[in-house]
């Protein structure tokens, strides 16, 4: 795995991977893909660093250090989107703005609570995937030593 080419490629690809993930997340409601696939793609970018550089270098990446917090935040966001309506006396998973109401447009993206829910799923999946690989990497290192 000490191939310089692979390292270069992995380093170069990290940012584009995240870009793609972000695009898929944003485009989720108007094109194929959703929060889940975006999360997996973002995580794959990080996992690539693990494979090419090894645990020590990859761990310096910010998403790795905060993987658990990212996952927790995602779960919290998704749960609150689901259950906040219940506090307001509406069925859970009621989304705002309601059907056919006006929503703020940013290009093809409409700002609605399902989008927030998708962001929650994205963060959770990314955090979980990175977290699992981090644990695995540690286990592997232990096993070798």
């Amino acid at each position: 795995m000490n191939n310089g080419m692979a390292r270069q490629a992995a380093r170069l690809l990290l940012l584009p991977t995240w870009m793609v993930a972000f695009a898929i997340l944003i485009k989720g409601y108007s094109d194929s893909g959703d929060g889940f696939s975006a999360g997996v793609i973002a995580a794959l970018g990080v996992i690539m660093q693990y494979v090419t550089y090894g645990t020590a270098t990859a761990e310096k990446l910010r998403p790795v250090r905060y993987a658990r917090q990212i996952a927790m935040a995602g779960l919290l966001i998704a749960l609150s989107v689901a259950f906040v309506p219940a506090l307001r006396g509406q069925p859970i998973m009621t989304h705002y703005p309601g059907p056919d109401r006006h929503a703020v447009h940013l290009g093809s993206l409409e700002l609605t609570t399902p989008f927030l829910f998708d962001i929650g799923v994205f963060l959770l999946v990314m955090g979980v995937c990175i977290g699992v690989f981090d644990l695995l990497a540690h286990a592997t290192r232990r096993e070798r030593s």
């Binding site: 108007s30 094109d31 194929s32 889940f36 699992v132 286990a139």
Partner: protein, 155 residues
Amino acid sequence: MTLIAALAVGILFAAGSYLLLQHDFIKVVGGTMLISHSVNLFIMVSGLSRGTEPIYPLVPGEKISDPVVQAMVLTAIVISFGVSALLISLIYRVYVAHRSVDIEHLSDFEERLVQLEEQQVPPEPGIGVLEDREDGDDSTRQAAGSTQPESAGAG
């Protein structure tokens, strides 16, 4: 087409159940994965409406492939991923504990353990059985059985 799809489902299921019957845990996991693949395929082809992608703008008059089935399969794929990942980490755990991933070795081990316990400790009367009614200290507390309150560790 119907027959071919059904054949593919059947073959995947057969391969999966063969692996499921092995005594190597890793193969058992492979079996569960194959079976879930076969089920996903089955659900997917059961919506054989086969039109265009279910994304707006739609072409008027043209058939659309069933989005409900797709959503269900999507959820199923994700869940089976989570379950398989959990299973293999469980197997890793088993390996760490016993240095084996073979069901025969594990059950031999368990059997030996039980025999060992039975030799050392007389049979535990089980929960719900106490001989003396009056309360007071009872010194015969051995392996607790399932009656132990969760908080027992704090004692």
